[in-house]
Amino acid sequence: MSLVLGIESSCDETGVGIARLHTDGRIELLADEVASSVDQHARFGGVVPEVASRAHLEAMVPTMRRALAAAEVDLADIDAVAVTCGPGLAGALLVGVSAAKAYSAALRVPLYGVNHLPGHVAADTLQHGALPSPALALLVSGGHTQLLRVDDLATKITEVGSTIDDAAGEAYDKVARILGLPYPGGPPIDKAAAKGDPEAIRFPRGLTGPRDARFDFSFSGLKTAVARWVENRERDGLPVPVEDVAASFQEAVADVLTMKAVRAAHELGIGTMVLSGGVAANSRLSSLARQRCAEAGIELRVPRPRLCTDNGAMIAALGAHLVAAEVHPSPLDLSADPALPVTTVSV
């Protein structure tokens, strides 16, 4: 049995999670505390790195104290410290990495510098248990849009596809702005779309031509198409049907994401898919993924919304997988790597 601390600070959430690795391999979540700076970024329409970094420094120790209290454990009980060392915002990552190194040194326990992206996949194992091998992961958030093949969560992850321009969540933020909806754009667009017609406007599906990359995504053209459509309406003096535009935009995003993910699972012969990341909570994306996976005979696993967004629990979970797999810990001169490749699960 082993108690693993997870620290996350790659974007705008300061997260501390505590997980217990049981001798039978089961990973139990004991605490998942998050301090978010999202409200401080709202008026800027996107995450401001320096604002996020300042918030991380302020929140780190208080969030840690809350997590320890929630888990009803002492720091002295901790057996390993895992921390996101990339990818992410350089200044933000550095706060978590610095704190994690200090906790690891003071507690004299191993340190694991881990990759944020497999962390999103590991979060699912907290809810649904061990993942079959291989599995496919579709990660969709403000920062990432990726299809990963997961052979072993602790050691072997390969990228199947990713966005070539904007992340899907970024497209949500930009379209929200076009429609005069608040930041972050995901929840208000989802809400508006519920009352709109998803077939009202046929927005383009990026990279779906016969000669386009089969598993990569592009959302920049979609965002521009929405802007053009709205501007043309305004030019013609017509009202903008916000609910129809939101529903049609959301349909285009969900359609291309799920189509390509199911295609990848089919072509790679993979029977299990994990859908995670902040946008996984989107109602249309998850319902379309459920429908298409069911039709294709693929088991779909979607962690509860709280586990989908950035948090320390996912990093504690990934750390527990590394401890279970007896992966070598990281050195104390570990540094943050904003561009850490997804194939590097731990440093």
Partner: protein
């Protein structure tokens, strides 16, 4: 009392172990690397290395003294996040010290202390016998008061600030602990960074059109 001193508000990654007996600090070990890009990487190894050189380990510490800037933000936070977490994990107080005060600590006479604020500006404060006369500020070199007969801290902009440079270029463990002497026997004050600048961020104006108006 065994004190760990850290500062990352300048290009120097500074760690040291200092024994304090009453009001006389004695430096047992210092480990310093001057590399503005290595704060996050090297600070914890330096702390452990300095403790090792002093014949001690982290659990022996009674207090931590941490420089709180002003300094370039990312580097500054590496030291403060490290000190904050160490203090929590070890259950010892973390005493904040202004980095410029640490450079001025123990000096005599009228002194200007400057450190590199990047973007062609300097962080600065003036001192009389090591006691601050001004609060730290950030200005272009030409706007920094040049009435002190000597300067310490960075040697940058010697063409503008022409008085002789004496004293330390970077904060030292001895300077950090000396500047903290009056507060070591009191409860630690909050560990708050001195940024002196607001984050670079602009509220977006009207959205750019993608179609011709």
């Amino acid at each position: 009392m065994l004190v760990l001193a850290v500062d990352t508000a300048t290009p120097s990654v500074t760690a040291g172990v200092v024994a304090v007996d009453g009001s006389s600090p004695e430096v047992l070990a210092t480990l310093v690397t001057v590399d503005a890009r290595a704060h996050g990487e090297l600070l914890t190894p330096h702390i452990l290395g300095a403790l090792d050189d002093a014949g001690h380990a982290l659990p022996d510490l009674d207090a931590i003294v941490c420089g709180v800037g002003p300094g370039p933000f990312t580097g500054l936070r590496a030291g403060m996040a490290t000190a904050g977490a160490l203090g929590h994990a070890l259950g010892v107080p973390v005493h904040p010290v202004r980095t410029l005060d640490a450079i001025a600590a123990g000096t005599t006479g009228h002194l200007l202390v400057t450190t590199d604020a990047r973007r062609r500006e300097l962080y600065w404060a003036t001192y009389a016998d090591g006691v601050a006369l001004t609060n730290p500020a950030v200005d272009r070199p030409a706007d920094v008061p040049a009435d002190a007969p000597r300067r310490a801290g960075t040697t940058l902009y010697g063409d503008v600030l022409t008085m002789p440079h004496t004293g330390e270029e970077y904060p030292t463990p001895l300077g950090l602990v000396t500047a903290a002497l009056g507060q070591l026997d009191r409860p630690a004050r909050p560990l708050v960074p001195l940024y002196l600048r607001r984050p670079d961020a602009t509220v977006p104006g009207t959205r750019k059109r993608v179609t011709a108006p």
